[in-house]
Amino acid sequence: MLTLALQNLLSPMVLFFVLGLAAALARSDLTVPEQVAKLLALYLLMAIGFKGGAEVAHHGIDGTLIATLAAGILLSFATPFLAYAILRVTTRLDPVNAAAVAAHYGSISAVTLVAVTGVLTQLGIAWDGYMVAVAAAMETPAIVAALLIARRRTKEAAPSDSRATLLREVAFNGSIVILVGAFLIGAATGTRGATMLKPFLVDAFPGVLCLFLLDMGLVAGRGLAQGRRHLTPAVTAFAVVMPLIGAALAAALAVAIGLSPGSTAVLITLAASASYIAVPAAMRLALPQANPAVALTLSLGVTFPFNLIVGIPLYIAVAGRIAA
C-alpha cells in the first residue's frame, strides 16, 4: 500500500494538480481559459461515460447493478443527514450553511470519479462500466435531503421557484446528460464504436486528465487563497473526516453487495467525494442565503486534494483487501 501511495504521489496526474496548486499560491498568472476548462470537463465525462457503456456492452449487466444503484442512492440521500449533524455539533456553521455543505458531501464529484478511473486504468484494475450510471444516480438525492433538512431547520421563506423545477434542472444538468448520454451510446455501439473512438477517447485520456488536473489545482489554489478565512480547524477537520465516513459506509455496502475490487474502489471514492459542479449551482437557487464560498472551499480546496493525493490510493488498497 505504501508503494501504491508513493506511485500515486509520483503520477503525472497528481503532480500536475500540485503544479496548479503551487502556481496559484505563488500568484502566477498561469490560467486555463474558462471555455478550455469546460472542454476538458466535457471530454472527460464523455470519455468515461462512453467507456463505461462500451464495457457494459462487452460484459453485460449482472444482478449487482440494481443493488449498487440502490446503495448509491441510499448513500447520497443518507449522508447529508449525517454530515449536517456532524457540522452542527462540531462547527459553528448556521443551519442554512450546514445544510448546503451537507448537500455537497452527499452528492458526488464527477471529477473525482474521472481521477479514480484514471488511476485504476493505470494500475490495470477493471471496474464495472455501470458504475458510471451509479455515479449519475448519486448526484441528486443529496440535494433532496438538504432541502428537507433546510425546510425543517430553518424558517426561511421558500426559494424563488418550485422544488420540482429545481430538481428537474439538476437531473438534466450538463454533466449528468453527457455522462449518461455517452454511457448509453457506448452501450449501444459496443466494440465497433469503441474501436472507432479509441484514439480520441481512450488513448488521449491520461494526457487530457493531466491538463484538467492542472486546472483543478489552479482553481483549488485560488479558492484556498480566497476562502482561507472559512477554514476554521473544526470545518477543515470535517472536510477530511467526512470523506472517510462516507468511504466506510460505501465499503460496507460494497462488501454486502459483493462488488469487484475495482467497482468497490469506485463506489468508495464516489461516496467520499464532494460535489462542485451540480450541487453548488443548485444551492445558489435553493438556498441563496448560504455563502457559496464555504462549501466550495471545503469541497474543492480540501476534500478534492485529500481524495486525489491520499484518499484514492487508500480506497483502492482497502477495496483490494475487502472486495470479493
Binding site: T31, V32, P33, E34, A37, K38, L40, A41, V111, S160, D161, D215, L218, V219, R222, Q226, G227, Y276, I277, A278, P280, A281, A282, M283, R284, L285, P288, Q289, N291, P292, A293, L296
Partner: protein
Amino acid sequence: MQTFPKKRIEIVVEAPLLRRITARLEETAVTGWTVVPVLAGHGRHGDWTAEGQIGTASQMVMLITIVDAGRLDAVLDGVFALVSRQIGVVTVSDVAVVRPERF
C-alpha cells in the same frame, strides 16, 4: 437625429439565476435584453474569476436591458424579487434611443 429618453438597467448576477431573471423580464413584457460575459469581479463576497471554472455556480453574467421609464418600477420590482437574496448588483441609468417604439 431626434432621440427619446429611456432607462438602461444593468444587472450583474450569478449565472445560475439568469434563466429565472429572463423569464421574469418576459413576464414583465420587457421587449429585449442583452447578456454580456463577465471575467472577474470583487464585492462583499470577495474576489472571483471565471478562469478555469467548469461549473456555473461561481460565475456571473451581466444583463443589460433598455426599457421605457413607465415600466421601470415594474421591472425593478420583478428583478428584485429574485435577486434580493442572491449575489449581484443592479444599476439604472438614462439613455436616449432613436426608435422609441421598440422598448
